[in-house]
């Protein structure tokens, strides 16, 4: 199969879906600019022009409401935010309106399939308001689907599903994934929401992760394999619906759970995954679960602080070793995936 980068996979899904369905349009601040949202909207703009790839004013609230209205009239909006942090300004129309629309108006009329892509993740010193990952916030409210693809193939497949489904969707994309490559099917094949993926098979510890943290977990697994610890990495792919079964089946096999996320622990992804296990198979746990998440402070800018702030493969290694009763020892430090980032922003 061909290999594409994550951003190319998103671009390809977008273009293929837009070709197949005239009702799809893209709206976002600067989606038409030369950089094309990390490359992801560039080809769509070149192909479909300003009528279907629409630069909008800096009005996140109205733009989301606008998308709801367009969707209510049969169009399929794909909204893009270059930082998901800006989506707080669009929370009301997404959570109070889009998520509830179908149900609130009876449940049997059309929904408003607004798809929102939000870019998350660190760059160089993006700081407290430009690097947050608000997926848990959107996933808490019933009515939306929320997904965070980790691989190019999933980035394509989940976007295809979003653009062909009937439910509003929030897709979270970690910017550090854009350059990653992987095999991607040529066709516009949807990957359903709610179906996780075993990213790596293992027997001793399960690491449940999402988005970028799947890769950090895989790197951790490689190093741990050298220590004789076999790690299973579960990529949930979507946060709502969440694939409880794949999580529980894995933990039932390994008895140990580490959950890794790029947001805070409290009331976040790591909490939900832990709860799923505690709800279904607590007896399977041979050790307490461990959560790898952001420390309880806003994101600092200064790079040593930033390094310490963001969880990565090193932290996962440590947590797994501890769960397996092994001392941290002096393993070589693991560079995070994001360490490959070439500045300056």
């Amino acid at each position: 199969m061909r290999t594409l980068t994550y951003w190319q996979a998103i671009s390809e899904a977008t273009v293929q879906c837009m070709e197949a369905d005239e009702s799809i349009f893209i709206a976002g601040e600067g989606v038409d600019d030369i950089k094309g949202t990390f490359g992801t909207t560039k080809e769509a703009y070149a192909r479909f022009g300003a009528n279907r790839v629409i630069d909008v004013p800096n009005s996140e609230n109205a733009t989301a409401g606008f998308a709801v209205g367009a969707a209510a009239c049969g169009l399929r909006p794909l909204l893009v935010h270059t930082r998901a942090d800006f989506m707080f300004l669009a929370l009301d129309p997404l959570v109070n309106l889009a998520a509830k629309w179908r149900y609130m108006y009876g449940g049997d009329k059309g929904g408003v399939p607004v798809v929102t892509r939000g870019v998350v993740g660190r760059g160089w010193g993006q700081g407290a308001t430009h690097s947050q990952s608000p997926h848990a916030t959107f996933a808490h409210y019933a009515g939306l689907y929320v997904a965070a693809p980790a691989s190019p193939a999933d980035a394509k497949g989940l976007l295809v599903q979003a653009l062909t489904g009937d439910t509003p969707v929030v897709l979270v994309e970690n910017r550090n994934l854009y350059p990653l490559t992987g095999e991607v099917p040529a066709g516009a094949t949807a990957i359903p929401f709610g179906v996780g993926r075993i990213a790596r098979r293992g027997a001793d510890v399960t690491v449940v992760a999402t988005s970028l943290m799947v890769h950090e977990a895989e790197r951790a697994a490689v190093q741990l394999a050298e220590q004789g610890i076999s790690v299973e990495v579960v990529d949930v792919r979507s946060l709502r619906p969440l694939d409880d079964r794949i999580i529980c089946e894995s933990v039932a096999r390994t008895g140990r759970l580490v959950v890794a996320d790029t947001s805070w622990a409290r009331y976040g992804f790591t909490a939900e995954v832990a709860a799923v296990v505690a709800e279904h198979i607590p007896h399977a746990l041979t050790a307490p679960i461990r959560r790898l998440a952001l420390p309880d402070c806003p994101a600092p800018v200064s790079w040593p602080l930033e390094e310490a702030f963001h969880p990565g493969a090193g932290g996962i290694v440590e947590a797994c070793l501890q769960l397996c009763g092994q001392a941290p020892g002096d393993l070589p430090a693991l560079a995070d995936v994001a360490a490959g980032f070439q500045g300056p922003y």
Binding site: F66, A67, A70, A71, N96, M104, Y105, D166, T167, P192
Partner: protein, 327 residues
């Protein structure tokens, strides 16, 4: 007597009779368990604007939803059943008074978060414009909603993209108990704010249904001809309490002077339209009385119907929140 003008009066009479009857039931029986914002006294805005729309046009509203819903031709029985929380309701009892919908007649929906439906209407109208057909959208909201940032964002967005949407502001001088003077600067109007966003705008007496109708026709024509959005600021007044069936000006609620309310009640849009029509139709009062009786029957029947209808099935609580997940 089916002249266009008489029809406007007739529509107002129907809404008045329906709402007054519902208000009585609401208060006396407390079986409608849904916060309800009556438009009694404000009928001319809904009727004047909706009468100027075609069946292809869409209307969205805020919480004060009954009057535009009915004026646009929304199914009365389905509305009443909705207020009673029944499966036969227009939103199958899921939505209540604040979430009416009847797409068959072009009533796109109402919502209760201030300002929320304003950009929705812009998006809907933009979708229409893309399709190339001369359809337009009207969106109703109060003076209070214009303080929400999304109102300004929507004006700008509609203006830049020349979207065929009519912003209909029912300025009834209050946001719950806050007078407009405590919330917006004196010396500038909502019309001014629209114009400053490049939106053509007009202020019209919102209790004069004929004036509203003509202004709405102008506004819709403007939209259909591709000239972009239009805002109508319609001065009017609600007679009842903000939410719920009662009058509150006689009680010691203190937020609006009894004299003010009484002066506005004296400017009842129905009485005014009746007076205007009396010249041409000397027997107008008898006709209005007949209409009242007719609609009195209709709403009584709708209430009986709604009460008889079953509640939604509790086992179907989750239905419709999501489309079935493909697994």
């Amino acid at each position: 007597m089916t002249s266009g003008r008489a029809q406007l009066l007739r529509d107002m009479v129907r809404i008045r009779v329906v709402e007054e009857t519902l208000a009585d039931y609401y208060r006396d029986e407390q079986q409608m368990r849904t916060p309800t914002h009556f438009s009694i006294g404000q009928e001319a805005t809904a009727v004047g604007v909706c009468a100027a729309t075609t069946s292809q046009d869409l209307v969205f509203t805020a919480h004060r939803s009954h009057a535009p819903y009915l004026a646009k031709g929304g199914d009365l029985k389905a509305m009443v059943a909705e207020l009673y929380g029944k499966q036969a309701g227009c939103a199958h009892g899921r939505g209540g008074s604040i979430h009416l919908v009847d797409r068959a007649v072009g009533f796109g929906g109402s919502a209760a978060i201030l300002g929320e439906m304003i950009p929705v209407a812009v998006g809907a109208a933009w979708a229409f414009a893309r399709s190339g057909r001369p359809r337009a959208v009207a969106t109703f909201f109060g003076d209070g909603a214009t303080e929400e940032g999304v109102f300004a964002e929507s004006l700008n967005l509609a203006s830049v993209h020349r979207v065929p949407v009519v912003f209909v502001c029912e300025n009834n001088l209050y946001s719950i108990s806050s007078p407009i003077g405590a919330r917006q600067p004196a010396g500038s109007t909502i019309q001014d704010r629209a114009e400053a966003a490049g939106v053509t705008a007009a202020r019209v007496d919102g209790n004069d249904v004929f004036a509203v109708y003509e202004a709405a026709q102008r506004a819709l024509r403007h939209c259909r001809e591709g000239n972009g959005p239009y805002l109508l600021e319609l001065a009017t007044y609600r007679w009842r309490e903000h939410v719920g069936p009662g009058f509150d000006h006689g009680q010691d609620h203190g937020y609006r002077p009894v004299r003010e309310t009484e002066a506005w009640m004296a400017r009842c849009p129905i009485v005014r339209a009746t007076e205007i029509l009396r010249e041409q139709h000397p027997d107008i009062d008898r006709t209005v009385a007949e209409w009242s009786a007719q609609y009195g029957d209709e709403i009584q029947r709708a209430v009986v119907y709604a009460k008889e209808q079953p509640f939604p099935d509790v086992d179907a609580l989750l239905d419709g929140a999501y489309h079935p997940v493909p697994r």
